[in-house]
């Protein structure tokens, strides 16, 4: 079985979450990703997880493992000129470069797009940063929570009568997903023209691109949309309801047909014939009362029962799933959504399998995230053809470090 990006090599200078997940997506698609890191400047995900304290060692971070699957790893000290020269040799045999250092840092190291396009003219070089490499805020720093704020996702998240709800790591992974898409577009263009180029990606903008209904409401009507919990502008019922097993279920009814089906499925209790719920307009207007009635009913069933009952009637009802619900979900089991990966230090760990199913070139997980410097020998000796003595010397002098 082949892989979509077989033969593509990525020199990965990225760290934290947003950069590494972008290159991991390419690695899941079959690219050979070489992560370039150094003990002099560890990827901080090897050391800590926001909100969970510190890990006990560089090879004991589950977060690092889950964001760097399928990659190879080498250690190069880029604060030394020889380290930079070696990095260039890796780039010379690569197709893609990804980096997410603060704008300007790679240029100062001599590893900016201009310098590397001399080493490899058709390189696709993606720079990912908080706000992009141009504009007055180009030097600003951030992590997923701050991108979520800057991009507009947090303002729109939560209940209207409560403060905005923080979003966490998923925001970084959204930025990464956008980066992977942009790199693939670059690769498709290079395939036809033989040319490389630079891609400047702003994490803030990747998030703003996802909330455009709210933006359009402002540009068209000067209306500032705000948080609406689980409610909708038009649909009702449209909410997340408590069930008898303490779990939550989402129910959304869009059409009259679905409303009728919903009423039938719950046994057509008297209130469903009430004038306050007689048409979509009334239901939306009286949604507080409607939601109370709906929840009275959901509280008499488990979330699973509600889903089955309503879906069989053609009504959209899906539980709000947490880690336990997801892991034990029969549908996701059938789809092989999760898989085990053996890690040499941490043992077997369950990870999310590739989330696309290709009929001809399946994406797959072939290995755990690289241990620090795990592939120095393969890259320096096999790929770059350096002698053992040469490598040993560079290790001694702290270049391969």
């Amino acid at each position: 079985m082949s892989e979509s990006l077989k033969g593509i090599r990525v020199a990965d200078f990225s760290w934290a979450w947003a950069g590494p997940y972008a290159t991991m997506l390419l690695a899941l698609l079959g690219a050979e990703v070489i992560k370039i890191e150094s003990q002099a400047r560890l990827d901080h995900v090897r050391m800590r997880a926001l909100g969970f304290g510190l890990f006990r060692g560089a090879d004991r971070s589950p977060f690092f493992n889950d964001l760097n699957l399928n990659k190879l790893g080498i250690t190069l000290n880029l604060s030394q000129p020889e380290g930079v020269e070696l990095a260039k040799r890796v780039v010379a045999v690569s197709d893609v470069v990804v980096q997410n250092m603060r704008p300007g840092v790679m240029d100062r190291l001599g590893l900016g797009y201009k310098a590397l396009s001399k080493v490899k003219p058709d390189i696709i070089y993606l720079s990912s940063s908080a706000c992009g490499t141009t504009g007055p805020e180009r030097g600003y720093v951030g992590y997923a929570p701050t991108f979520g704020a800057l991009g507009g996702a947090i303002y729109l998240n939560g209940y209207p009568d409560a403060p905005p709800q923080m979003t966490m790591g998923s925001i970084d992974l959204r930025s990464a997903a956008t980066a992977a898409f942009a790199i693939l577009a670059g690769l498709c263009w290079r395939q036809r023209t033989g040319q490389g180029q630079h891609i400047d990606l702003s994490s803030q903008e990747t998030i703003t691109a996802l909330v455009q209904d709210a933006i359009m409401d402002y540009t068209m009507n000067k209306r500032i949309q705000t948080r609406r919990g689980n409610r909708d502008d038009i649909m009702a019922p449209h909410n997340c309801y408590r069930c008898s097993d303490g779990k939550w279920i989402t129910i959304a009814v869009a059409t009259e047909e679905e409303w009728q089906a919903f009423c039938q499925a719950i046994g057509a209790p008297g209130w469903t014939g009430d004038e306050r719920f007689c048409d979509a307009y009334q239901r939306r207007k009286n949604q507080e009362e409607l939601d109370e009635r709906v929840q009275e009913w959901t509280m008499t069933h488990t979330a699973c029962e509600v889903m089955k009952l309503l879906q069989d009637a053609g009504v959209a009802a899906v539980p709000s799933l947490g880690g336990e619900g997801l892991y034990n979900d029969p549908h996701l089991r059938e789809r092989e959504c999760f898989q085990e990966v053996e890690h040499p230090v941490m043992g077997k760990r369950v990870v999310v399998a590739p989330h696309w199913k290709f009929s001809y070139t399946p994406a797959s997980i072939s290995r755990h995230a690289p241990l620090l410097g795990e592939h120095n020998e393969y890259v320096f000796s096999e790929l770059l053809g350096m002698s053992i003595e040469e490598i040993e010397d560079l290790v001694q002098r702290g270049v391969i470090y």
């Binding site: 701050t146 729109l156 997903a177 903008e205 879906q311 059938e334």
Partner: protein, 408 residues
């Protein structure tokens, strides 16, 4: 010279609402030729979904539709008619990619599933984007954006750090998860296109919106599955003992900011920003480890200071000191953001019915193949003549007959 990244790539779209159309928009904005198929008379459901210009419902003035369909050609076609299916097959013959978001059963019933279509076009890349994928027990289950978003785990994760932990988990910005699904499908489609460029081989790509969302919260979603593992237990213990991030959502005088000051230099920047209050010299502030373990206390002290700050000022001066801090931007803030303006993130597009409106461009700047707008979203059936006569060779008279027969 091919000046657009996906110039010459032909895409057929049989999608509605947000996820599918967003996927093909991403391709169209980079130069692919996308033909969007809509149901005669009614069109895409987003045409009936706001926000509408001036709050007046109008099929050609839905902001959501206009945004999601830039750069596409639009035709109408009724697939419930035998002739409609025949026309569809002729269209499939000429394209590189088909993007569709129908239920697997519906495509089979129409005789337009991958096995049938690859007979017509062996090189076809067909990407199907549905709430739960092409296989498994829930494959035919219905889901609106609210349902899919909750199925991906993220609302649950946010409950851990919520101002309203007793209330139901929330779905976030309503269409975000749909955009996520569309982006995931676009990425997979380009990977398949790249492979086809090497080998000529087409294929079917099955994209589940639920799984695309699960993947975005992959770390937190897997805590449960790994709960017995040593490292996960250590993280859980640390969290239970109060380990936390120095930061989070913070209230200012005039709104909110989000702070995330993890590393020593960032903490030092924050101390400086606050004017070196004496409590920052306490033992609990000594190292990243001690700060993390005393996060609750430290965060409440920072909050006491933050409440008297102006959000814009604290954002700017914080960033100058290297502190990761971001303003909680509203849609208005974003449209007026000096940064987004300087980067040309908003582009005015003229549309025959909606007039000149500003739209968001893309988050990426290609140095050689810039994102560009060739045309606004299509009017319903705007390109029928161009596609049916120009591409498929129907005469204008036949076009009239197809229209009268309710096919287009």
């Amino acid at each position: 010279m091919v000046s657009k990244a996906l110039e010459g790539v032909k895409v057929l779209e049989l999608c509605q609402f947000v996820a599918g159309p967003y996927c093909t928009k991403l391709l169209a904005d980079l130069g692919a030729e996308v033909i969007k198929i809509e149901e005669p008379r009614l069109g895409d459901t987003t045409r009936r979904r706001g926000p509408f210009l001036w709050d007046i419902p109008h099929a050609e003035r839905s902001g959501l539709f206009l945004y999601l369909n830039t750069n596409k050609l639009g035709i109408t076609l009724n697939l419930n008619k035998v002739t409609g299916k025949e026309v569809f097959r002729r269209l499939v013959r000429d394209v590189d990619i088909l993007l569709e978001d129908n239920s697997p059963r519906r495509m089979r019933e129409l005789g337009l599933d991958y096995d049938c279509l690859r007979e017509i076009n062996p090189h076809l890349i067909m990407t199907s984007i549905t709430p739960f994928g092409q296989t498994g027990s829930y494959r035919e289950y219905k889901a609106y954006p609210l349902n899919t978003f909750h199925a991906g785990g993220e609302p649950h994760i946010q409950q851990f750090d919520s101002a309203t932990p007793d209330r139901a988990p929330v779905a976030g910005s309503i269409f975000m998860g749909e955009h996520d699904g569309g982006l995931s499908a676009a990425t997979a489609t380009l990977a398949a296109l790249f492979y086809r460029g090497v080998t000529g081989q087409g294929q079917h790509v099955d994209v589940s919106k639920q799984e695309s969302l699960i993947a975005l919260s992959r770390l937190e979603n897997m805590f449960y599955a790994n709960r017995e593992k040593e490292e996960t237990r250590e993280m859980a213990t640390a969290a239970a003992q109060g380990a936390g991030m120095i930061g989070g959502l913070m209230r200012c005088q005039d709104g909110y900011v989000v702070l995330a000051a993890m590393q020593d230099n960032q903490w030092q920047g924050l101390v400086e920003l606050m004017g070196h209050p004496t409590w920052t010299e306490d033992e609990m502030c000594r190292s990243e480890g001690t700060r993390s373990m005393n996060a609750q206390k430290i965060v409440s002290l920072v909050q006491e200071w933050m409440i008297n700050q102006n959000r814009e000022e604290v954002f700017r001066s914080g960033q100058e000191k290297g502190v990761p801090i971001g303003v909680v931007n509203s849609p208005q803030d974003l449209v007026n953001s000096p940064q987004l303006r300087a980067r040309g993130f908003f582009v005015a597009i003229e549309h025959p019915e909606a007039g000149k409106i500003e739209y968001a461009a893309a988050a990426y700047r290609f140095s050689k193949t810039p994102w560009s707008v060739q045309r606004p979203a299509p009017l319903l059936g705007e390109h029928n003549e161009r596609i049916y006569c120009g591409l498929l060779g129907y005469s204008k008279q036949e076009l009239v007959r197809l229209r009268q027969a309710g096919v287009i």
